[in-house]
Subunit: 94 residues, 2 copies
DNA sequence: TAAACAAGTTTAAAATATAAACCAAAATAT
DNA sequence: ATATTTTGGTTTATATTTTAAACTTGTTTA
């Protein structure tokens, strides 16, 4: 029987962010925005959701004088991503 | 760069239906309902969407005296499913 | 010092998913 | 015979989610 997919990860933009962070561990907001082609508003909302469930941590600081937001994937986030991949494999017949 | 995922397939219930139909080619409404644990209302709506975009065809008839709805996957549906799987692989790092 | 720009956040609108309520016909119980 | 329940769905109203437009705060440039 097909498992229920994690609704936090089953969202195109949040999955894209997590996919990037799986490889990089951490990335700036602006980099994620470039790579995903998302609007800043949409990205901001989705990053907040990922943070709320503990899949990433978010540090706000400064790079010189300009604000900088850095996102880092957590153990919980890595585990959730892997679980999601496994669950999806059954849907995709892999 | 990550490709945009087909929004028709990037829906848990529609993906589950398509996953079943990829293996079986055709299936009854009641069977799909059992296998997905969906409510009839939700399943009805999602089947209609899959039909509207031409990923499945829907035949309504009778099995003896009781109504029977049979869903059949189309070539377009098979192609779309395969494309979706390929696009997702990049998100999932496969 | 005014205008444009960068890095985000907040909010309101649009789209989507979901289930509750409904319908028609058949089977079952009274 | 006639209520009552069950089966196989559809329609519609609500809840949730996504998305982008509008806004904020501070910075650089003209």
């Amino acid at each position: 029987m097909l498992k229920k997919l994690d609704p936090i990860l089953h969202s195109e933009l949040r999955l894209a962010v997590m996919s990037l962070l799986i490889s990089l561990t951490k990335a700036e907001f602006t980099y994620l925005k470039e790579q995903t082609n998302a609007t800043a508003g949409n990205l901001s909302v989705q990053i907040t959701k990922l943070e709320e469930v503990g899949y990433i941590t978010v540090e706000k600081g400064y790079k010189g004088k300009v604000p900088q937001t850095i996102c880092t994937i957590s153990k919980k986030g890595i585990d959730a991503f892997e679980q999601y991949v496994n669950d999806l494999k059954e849907y995709l017949k892999m």
